[in-house]
């Protein structure tokens, strides 16, 4: 019965669309717009002329994110250690650390030279609320906007990247793309899109009170990105 009501409503809405479009609809199949699509890249200002990594770093820092660059696996561990050491001196003391199931990630986190109370891979959603830091990788990044691209069908990081007050992400330098358009094409290259893809540009923010910027409302308050210029993490 509910189904038939739904069917009726659907028929009525589509009928109303067709009736109101009437004769004014342009006939036949929709025209291809590809020919009018301009390439909408950012202006060639000085910050855009550097390497993709430099541009990414500059853009990320412009939105209150932090960017560290590592040449080797050891440097990634050093970077993680530096971040944790810094956090220890703040109110964001990293006692409980959640790690995603990305290949090779847990091993690196276990090498951090800072005393952590707990390191757990993929804690449950309800547990996650009491974690202090979430560490994940990112599947891609967009240089021109300083954006991380998280494809949660390839890594269990939908919540680890979101719930704890600190998010640390490692991105392989080879997966940084110059433009938004390029990245969108990549996400859609086999005609399908993963069930959940999240773009992350800086920490969570709001300006809802007197238009004053406040960082860290519902998502992370701190976002650290480690760019891995060495061998891709999954291959280590």
């Amino acid at each position: 019965m509910i189904d038939s009501a739904n069917q009726n409503a659907r028929a009525n809405i589509l009928g109303s669309i067709r009736a109101h479009l009437g004769s004014s609809r342009s006939g036949g199949t929709p025209p291809a717009l590809n020919n009018i699509r301009a390439t909408a890249s950012e202006n060639g200002s000085s910050e855009q002329t550097g390497s993709k990594i430099e541009v990414f770093k500059a853009q990320l820092e412009a939105v209150n994110g932090h960017c560290l660059i590592a040449q080797t696996e050891l440097e990634i561990v050093h970077a993680l250690t530096r971040i944790m050491t810094h956090l220890k001196q703040t109110e964001l003391d990293p006692k409980r650390v959640a790690v995603s199931d990305a290949r090779g990630l847990e091993r690196l986190v276990r090498l951090i030279a800072v005393q952590l109370d707990e390191v757990t891979v993929s804690p449950s959603a309800s547990d996650l609320f009491s974690f202090d830091v979430g560490i994940t990788t990112a599947q891609a990044a967009i240089a021109e906007t300083g954006t991380l691209v998280l494809d949660s069908s390839r890594e269990r990081h939908r919540l680890i990247s979101l719930v704890p007050p600190v998010h640390i992400a490692i991105i392989d330098a080879a997966n940084i793309y110059s433009t938004l358009g390029e990245t969108l094409a990549l996400l859609h290259k086999d005609g399908n899109v993963s069930p959940i893809v999240s773009f992350v540009t800086g920490p969570s923010r709001t300006a809802d009170i007197e238009l004053t910027l406040a960082i860290g409302v519902h998502g992370p308050q701190e976002l650290y990105v480690i760019v891995n210029e060495g061998q891709p993490l999954a291959l280590v």
Partner: protein, 486 residues
């Protein structure tokens, strides 16, 4: 005090104009948003091309809306999304209340959605005994205060931090503080428990991508990601016009929307949701429902002028640019959608008779058209709607005599203005007779006399100076002859 209606727009606006605090807040907000928008648009070298493209994409979609909508629905359905069709607000609320009731939900978390504001979903859900929690900070503040949004993207723009601090202290029992970071933290902590407890998350939709069946939602706070990731059930509510054809079209709209709305290159988060999760163990909700709402939208397709209204991507740029909105704010419009876009959408959604004053809440300066990222010609729409309103008014019996008089007056005026002799005669005559309607040095009729009711109506909001004792022509003649004498 904030639940104003569009019917009382004139009174609402007058009251808003006396609220010095509100006007200060509006001045700050609209000028800041305006500056940021200009700077962000300038960071692209082809802003105008992008606007043209975005509009072309929207026009293409709207002229084939049934096809693109069905393509979107088909692709999302094949990925496990359940679709529900709602012809009006009541039907949408009934559907959503049905899903929540069936799930046994006690708490519902919501992320900002203008569409659910339009249907007054919260009231409907609360009536079924469900607790609804708005999670966008601005929406949460106004929910606690039992108010309505006053701006599309900054709903609590009208409230000061002192008012918010007071509200948090009385409603949440938090320590009194006017520190904005502290207030934000209080909201975060309180809402975390709600997120953890919620069975259903309700969101809006920014774009429905036909080619892939993807829902795209744009935000800064992270509450949309939580709303769509944590609860067992996600319900997304979308107007029929939210469809865009191709995945690649996202490029254009993601460049325009954040820049026009908040002046950002990109907002902090974009969620691309394509169907339900592929494995039961994956993160995310078990069920994804999409409610497709018409509620008067399909009617707007009928005319090319009104059809443009459906191209709106709800960025709020026209509000910030509008000299009327800048003075009176969002509440005065008495509608979910305020500002220039509200003045054209509201009468079309609610009916002209309920919002007949809104299309006149504009000086037709065109600032809204200048900033619109999808090039909606709002002044053209306003004039179109004014035309429909006057047309409608002549058909009703209320003031046929006055309409006739007005028509006659304009016919006479045209005659006089095209005949120099007649013009001179008329001005002479007017000059000697204008004392009848001149009060305090201005032409106006006292409400007590109402000798010329049409004139009284016209001058009630305008200052009209009386004619000078000598005309320009006369002065020209006398001054010229005086010059020759010397």
């Amino acid at each position: 005090m904030n639940h104003l209606t569009a019917e009382t727009f004139d009174e609402n606006a007058k009251a808003a104009l006396t609220d010095t605090h509100l006007r200060g807040a509006l001045r700050n907000a609209t000028s800041l948003f305006g500056e940021r928008r200009r700077a962000a648009a300038a960071s692209l070298n082809n802003w105008e091309d992008l606007r043209t493209q975005a509009r072309a994409i929207k026009d293409e979609t709207l002229s084939h809306l049934d096809e693109y909508l069905m393509q979107f629905v088909g692709n999302a359905e094949s990925r496990g999304v359940q679709f529900h069709w709602a012809e009006n607000a009541a039907a949408a609320n009934e559907i959503i209340c049905g899903i929540t009731a069936k799930s046994g939900a006690i708490t519902v978390v919501k992320s900002k959605s203008m569409t659910t504001e339009e249907t007054h979903l919260n009231d409907a859900l609360e009536n079924t005994g469900v607790k609804v929690v708005e999670t966008d900070l601005g929406e949460y503040i106004i929910q606690l205060a039992h108010e309505t949004p006053s701006h599309i993207i900054a709903p609590a723009i009208h409230k000061t931090k002192a008012q918010i601090a007071e509200l948090f202290t009385s409603e949440l029992g938090s320590e009194p503080t006017e520190d904005i970071a502290e207030l934000t933290r209080t909201a975060r902590e309180t809402l975390r428990d709600r997120f953890a407890a919620a069975d259903v998350g309700i969101s809006g939709v920014n774009f429905g991508i036909a080619e892939t069946g993807t829902i795209l939602i744009v935000e800064n706070e992270g509450n949309i990601r939580l709303t769509t990731s944590l609860p067992r059930i996600h319900i997304a509510v979308m107007g029929i016009e939210k469809v865009i054809p191709r995945f690649a079209d996202v490029d254009v709209f993601l460049k325009l929307l954040p820049r026009s709305g908040t002046g950002q290159r990109l907002t902090a988060y974009q969620s691309f949701i394509t169907g339900v999760k592929s494995h039961p163990d994956d993160e995310g909700p078990d069920e994804v429902h999409v409610v497709v709402l018409d509620n008067g939208r399909s009617r707007m397709l009928a005319h090319p002028v009104t059809r443009q209204s459906l191209a709106c991507i709800r960025c709020g740029a026209c509000l910030n640019a509008c000299p009327v909105y800048q003075q009176i704010g969002g509440h005065a419009y008495g509608s979910v959608y305020p500002g220039p876009i509200g003045a054209v959408i509201t009468p079309q959604l609610m009916g002209l008779e309920k919002a007949a004053k809104l299309p006149y809440a504009s000086s037709l300066c065109g600032a809204c058209r200048e900033v619109c990222p999808v090039k909606i010609d709002i002044p053209q729409l306003l004039l179109h709607l004014r035309g429909e309103i006057t047309q409608g008014a002549t058909e009703t019996v209320s003031q046929p005599a006055r309409r006739q008089a007005e028509k006659l007056a304009f016919r006479i005026w045209a005659k006089v203005m095209t005949n120099p002799k007649l013009y001179e005669l008329t001005t002479r005559l007017s000059r000697s007779l204008q004392w009848i309607v001149v009060r305090d040095g201005k032409i106006r009729d006292k409400p007590t006399t109402q000798m010329f009711s049409a004139l009284a109506a016209w001058t009630s909001g305008r200052d009209l100076r009386p004619l000078e004792t000598t005309s320009f022509r006369e002065r020209w003649k006398t001054e010229l002859s005086r010059g020759e004498e010397q």
